[in-house]
């Protein structure tokens, strides 16, 4: 067996990525667990890791006008491609919400009236938990550039795995298929897509599979809560077969999963005898052996 970096994504949110990541993590004596869902990081709630290191993350910059210097010439309004600068009554106004932080306005302003202020309220944390090491990012409310923070979390996870000689890294990914999801799967060894047997689950799994295939790898699929709609589960299996995407396993809906979360444990810790754990173990060891 060699080192493995496994990413778990879903397309649709709430299909059970974090619960399944937690179960995988607790099967191992030593693992590096990285929470890449930086705008809704949750795994630290289950594992309460020690806070050994905190690093500030500059998520981007926002343009700010000094009205004392501004002559209201409007050059910045004409150049901004993000509709962030408007003429508001008699003066130019910048919307922090729309500002993309490209710096162009600050470069072209003839009066040097625009400065770029860094957004530095986001953090990356790393520490130890009961099954190894944990790295996670927390994006401050309303901040952006999630993809860059995901990359930073992954680099730290790799450094930690090297330093402590821990073989496997598990990345709990974000929902969606945009920049944070792409940053989570770029260059990993294995990708698992967790889906659920709903029309939304199927549709979003197809889109998630497309970004993985585009990156040149073949994902495997876990169907969570598979008994909520067995016919839809069959449809998912059928689609996977047609597209040569392996189905790693199916897990039935079980309220024990929720109870485990409420008790800050993984399903493997909370209810070790639960039948779900057999499937989870099978999936984990199959993926490890296949790597």
């Amino acid at each position: 067996m060699k080192k493995m970096e496994l990413a778990i994504i879903s397309g649709k949110g709430g299909t059970g990525k974090s619960s399944i990541s937690a179960a995988f993590a607790t099967l191992n004596e030593q693992v590096v667990l990285a929470d890449c869902d930086v705008d809704a990081a949750n795994l630290y709630l289950l594992f309460n890791p020690s806070n050994d290191e905190e690093v500030k993350y500059i998520s981007g910059h926002k343009a700010v006008i000094d009205y004392f210097l501004c002559t209201n010439c409007g050059l910045c309004v004409d150049h901004c491609r993000f509709d962030a600068i408007t003429r508001d009554k008699d003066r130019v106004a910048i919307s922090g919400i729309s500002c993309d932080g490209c710096f162009l306005c600050s470069r072209i302003c003839p009066e040097n009236a625009i400065t770029m202020v860094p957004s530095d309220r986001s953090m990356m944390y790393s520490g130890s938990f009961r099954n190894g090491k944990m790295v996670y990012g927390r994006l401050a409310p309303g901040e952006e550039n999630t993809g860059k923070l995901v990359t930073m979390v992954r680099e730290k996870a790799k450094a930690v795995s090297k330093e402590y000689r821990i073989e496997n890294i598990i990345l709990d990914g974000p929902p969606g298929i945009g920049c944070p999801a792409i940053s989570t799967i770029t260059g990993v060894d294995k990708v698992i897509i967790v889906t659920e047997p709903t029309i939304s689950g199927l549709h979003d799994m197809q889109r998630a599979a497309a970004i993985v295939l585009k990156s040149g790898r073949i994902p495997s699929v876990i169907i969570n809560k598979s008994d909520i709609n067995p016919e839809m589960s069959d449809q998912i299996v059928e689609w996977c077969n047609e597209n040569s995407i392996p189905v790693a396993g199916s897990l039935p809906f079980d309220t024990k999963m929720v109870e485990a979360m409420v008790n800050a444990q993984s399903i493997y810790e909370y209810d070790p005898e639960n039948r779900i754990n057999n499937t989870i173990k099978d999936i984990w060891y199959n993926i490890l052996n296949d790597n």
């Binding site: 949750n42 932080g101 470069r107 952006e144 969606g176 920049c179």
Partner: protein, 292 residues
């Protein structure tokens, strides 16, 4: 018109469930309403209605094209690019644009003193208008596979809704970063959907913090109540946040919804409750002058 965004920090709490069922209830109540699917990375709302595609518009972004005959490899464009989208090796005269990293800000064109940069549009996704019985009912933002940011597509969808209906229900993307901010900042009121679990509560707090910074009025719907614990209710009480509705967990609801059916079609009491949520929003001072 009034714009109501349905959002959540955590994914899968039931945003689309609430948005689609609320929209159906409003139509059934003869309201002039439109549903806008702003979850461009994972758009699912259309699957719940019998819609006919009426119009689709491609959303593009400009990326630079560099004329290597004119380029002197001075590097000023790379210096201006804040997204590391320009790669340049002057000794061997190599200059490349990495389209995926480009945000289309135009800074490189401004930087270039040798007229070596022109721009070409690249597709980011589509905004589609879907009709029900010949009336505009749904506007869908759908980003293209592999596109980094859904924000330009979301913005394009939001630009379409002005004055096309009395009520717009915006199905928001999850999280609290740029796609979420873009959606909720255009809304008059935000319904946050959560579930009564530790993950649900943690992500709800993050959303609440963000909406307070944005100074947006909001209330909360607890979906799947009965699972998990009561900590979300306690939190709302402590913070004085309006609890708009609790929707109990039901296997039958989950099953119907999994097939692309709307539980509200068969459940008049859910319709009444969702319309009451709408009235509550109306009655909050300053939120809107629109009354159903």
């Amino acid at each position: 018109m009034i714009k109501i965004a349905v959002a959540s920090g955590k994914g899968g709490t039931g945003k689309t469930f609430v948005a689609t069922n609320l929209f159906y209830s409003l139509l059934h109540d003869n309201q002039n309403a439109v549903l806008v699917d702003c979850d461009a990375e994972a758009p699912n709302a259309a699957a719940f209605f019998n819609t006919a595609a009426a119009e689709s518009q491609e959303v593009t972004q400009l990326v630079p094209v560099i004329d290597t005959e004119r380029c002197t490899f001075c590097g000023k464009c790379r210096e201006y690019c804040n997204y590391n989208a320009i790669f340049i090796l002057p000794p061997v005269k190599i200059i490349n644009v990495i389209d995926e990293l480009c945000h289309g800000c135009g800074a490189c064109s401004v930087a270039c003193e040798f007229d070596a940069i022109t721009e070409k549009p690249v597709p980011l996704g589509n905004v589609s208008r879907l009709d029900i019985y010949g009336n505009t009912a749904l506007i869908e933002a759908r980003s293209k596979i592999g596109v980094m940011s859904p924000v330009p597509v979301i913005k394009a969808a939001l630009r379409k809704i002005d004055s096309i209906a009395d009520i717009a229900v915006l199905d928001s993307p999850p999280g609290t970063s740029c796609p979420f901010i873009q959606t909720v900042s255009s809304a008059d009121y935000v319904i946050l959907v959560t579930e009564p679990t530790p993950f649900g509560l943690s992500d709800l707090k993050q959303s609440v913090e963000t909406l307070r910074i944005l100074e947006k009025p909001f209330g909360v719907i607890i979906n799947r109540s009965g699972i998990g614990n009561n900590k979300v209710q306690d939190y709302l009480l402590d913070e004085g946040i309006t609890l708009l509705l609790e929707i109990p967990y039901s296997k039958e609801t989950a099953r119907l919804y999994s097939m692309g059916r709307l539980p509200v079609e068969k459940d008049p009491s859910l319709e009444t409750q969702l319309l009451r949520v709408f009235d509550t929003i109306y009655e909050k001072d300053g939120v809107s002058d629109y009354k159903r």
